[in-house]
């Protein structure tokens, strides 16, 4: 196992070594980030983790269009599994630039690490991208993170892989 993810329960997550996490660990970290971001979503909003590929692609296209970005990226992120890992790492690296948010995601990830569960190892990168693009403000503990600037940065790093 990689050093970065060793003993998920008691070791601090090294945000600069996300690439060293196994697929299972990265998938759990993405789920944790989605869980934290979803707390700031509108009550009753559809969960991006449960969206089928078609509606997810359309929703992402809409969000990308609003930002004047290339909408064809949506389909590639949703359909191409090999992109899930680099996109997830890029998004998480952007989240890591906000200490309060990163701390909250790490806390949730650590708690999840103590669970007797077999994850599928599926990295839900498109669901995370959806929330990163959708949310304007995110509450992390008692701190409110203005998400607009962060998501613009995240978008830039994601497009590095897609262009």
């Amino acid at each position: 196992m990689s050093e970065a993810g060793k003993s998920a329960n008691d070791k601090k997550l090294d945000w600069s070594k996300l690439n060293e996490l196994s697929d299972q660990q990265l998938a759990a970290l993405v789920e944790s980030a989605i869980f934290v971001l979803k707390q700031s979503d509108a009550p009753g909003a559809p969960s991006p983790t449960e969206m089928p590929a078609g509606p997810m692609t359309k929703a992402l296209e809409q969000l990308l269009r609003e930002r004047g970005a290339d909408t064809s990226a949506a389909g590639r992120v949703v359909k191409h599994r090999e992109l899930a890992r680099p996109v997830a790492v890029a998004l998480l690296s952007a989240i890591a630039t906000e200490p309060a948010l990163a701390q909250e995601v790490e806390r949730v990830w650590r708690e999840r690490g103590g669970l007797l569960v077999v994850g599928t190892g599926v990295i839900l990168a498109s669901a995370l991208l959806f929330l990163v693009l959708k949310l304007k403000k995110v509450k992390a503990g008692s701190v409110v993170v203005v998400f607009d600037k962060l998501s613009t940065g995240a978008l830039g790093s994601v497009f590095k892989f897609l262009s």
């Binding site: 999840r112 007797l116 077999v118």
Partner: protein, 402 residues
């Protein structure tokens, strides 16, 4: 000290029809009372939403379980008979049906004249039985029932050495994913410690934890009275019998076993796994699945108790014929008198705390299993797991309560 023969035993059975859910309460006196729980069309979406929450690892690990709390404090109370509050038994046998299988009835909050607003499982020792016939079979095979119930005292004092049952334990497991390896080893060690090392038949670390070694250990004589299995479970949603435990692949290769045929001849049976490992699992070792189908055809046990300390081992789909398909049920079918297993993906810290308290009450206080479960839940709900029903209520008992 109290006597087993003085315990008040009762039963609660559920019946689900297309229009409504009903319950039948059998009081300790033997008196029966039918009661209506509610309309099926109203309860079905609620039960479904609760099940979704309990299947969500993020909800469980973070303690964000509003539906579970709502069930426990509010609408779940309709599943309890009105007479329960005034005539709280020591032991309650619950026989669910259809959509009520896997509902955490033990977490429903209730009151008695003596105490207010506690989870049912803290007030009574609870066991679940998926059917009356399975319950009777587990009672008939339970070696604990060979003891003289009129001489069996339980309580805060240790039983006299001549009265304490001599139990042997087989405890082992493996974390093929590697994240919780030390926690698995430590928990297995903790279990064997409770019984004394000299009664340990098969301890973790002695062999690779594979299908072959586990089956070989189960065939040994004397058979263990207690079997503790700590491994990740894998649920195959399309074919339950291909679900199972994730174990190590045998390093020595495929084992051959002779099967006696007619005329004194033997057939060499190659002990291959019944399925390939799921491709989604990225294990740190070579793995195999010890499937429930393999357990059913190639393993027989006579254990007083099986402790399944793995992921959602007590949870499963309900198959045709009202058969709940879970790993815990499989162990009951192949000969266990009782099984304890988590009802959802359990946090390892909660499992270890529960195991310590449960085994302390069962082995040191000589309590029946259902009362040891009540003791463990009491301790956990009053201690550091207070206000966390998804943790203090995760473990359940199935089969015989004694």
């Amino acid at each position: 000290m109290a006597l087993i023969s003085d315990l008040k035993i009762s039963a609660l059975e559920f019946a689900v029809a297309s229009s409504e859910l009903a319950g039948m309460w059998t009081a300790p006196s033997g008196a029966r009372e039918h009661f209506r729980i509610g309309a099926t069309r109203d309860l079905l979406p609620r039960v479904d939403a609760l099940r979704s929450e309990l299947r969500d690892p993020m909800a469980i690990s973070t303690g964000e379980t509003p539906r579970l709390r709502e069930f426990a404090a509010d609408w779940g109370s309709s599943f309890l008979p009105p007479a329960l509050a005034t005539d709280m038994p020591d032991v309650l046998v619950i026989v669910p049906h259809a959509l009520t299988h896997d509902l955490p009835i033990h977490l429903i909050r209730t009151s008695t004249p003596a105490v207010e607003d506690r989870p049912l499982g803290v007030l009574a020792g609870i066991t679940y039985a998926s059917s009356r016939s399975l319950f009777i079979r587990t009672v008939e095979r339970n070696e604990a029932r060979q003891r003289d119930l009129k001489q069996w005292h339980y309580g805060e004092q240790r039983p006299r050495p001549d009265q304490a049952p001599l139990r042997s334990v087989m405890s082992g497991g493996v974390d093929v994913l590697g994240d919780l390896d030390s926690e698995f080893t430590e928990t297995c060690r903790l279990v064997t410690e409770q019984f004394g090392g000299e009664r340990t038949l098969f301890a973790v670390g002695s062999f690779p934890y594979s299908r072959t070694t586990v089956k070989a250990a189960l065939r040994r004589k004397p058979t263990p009275s207690v079997l503790c299995v700590m491994a990740h479970g894998w649920v195959d949603n399309n074919n339950h019998r291909m679900s199972g435990l994730l174990v190590e692949r045998d390093s020595v290769g495929v084992t051959k076993r002779p099967i006696p045929l007619h005329g004194g001849r033997y057939f060499d049976f190659r002990d291959l796994p019944l399925r390939r490992p799921p491709h989604q699992i990225k294990a740190i070792k070579e793995i195999e699945v010890f499937t429930t189908a393999e357990l059913e055809v190639d393993a027989q046990i006579a254990c007083e108790l099986v402790m399944l300390l793995g992921c959602s081992a007590g949870w499963g789909r309900v198959l045709q014929g009202d058969e709940p398909a879970s790993l815990a049920e499989t162990w009951l079918k192949i000969g266990a008198a009782s099984v304890v297993a988590p009802l959802w993906d359990a946090p390892i810290a909660a499992v270890r705390a529960w195991t310590t308290e449960f085994l302390h009450a069962w082995t040191q206080h000589d309590m029946p299993k259902a009362l040891a479960l009540r003791y463990a839940m009491q301790k956990m709900s009053e201690g550091s797991f207070q206000n966390a029903p998804e943790r203090f209520g995760v473990m359940t008992l199935r089969g015989d309560w004694l």
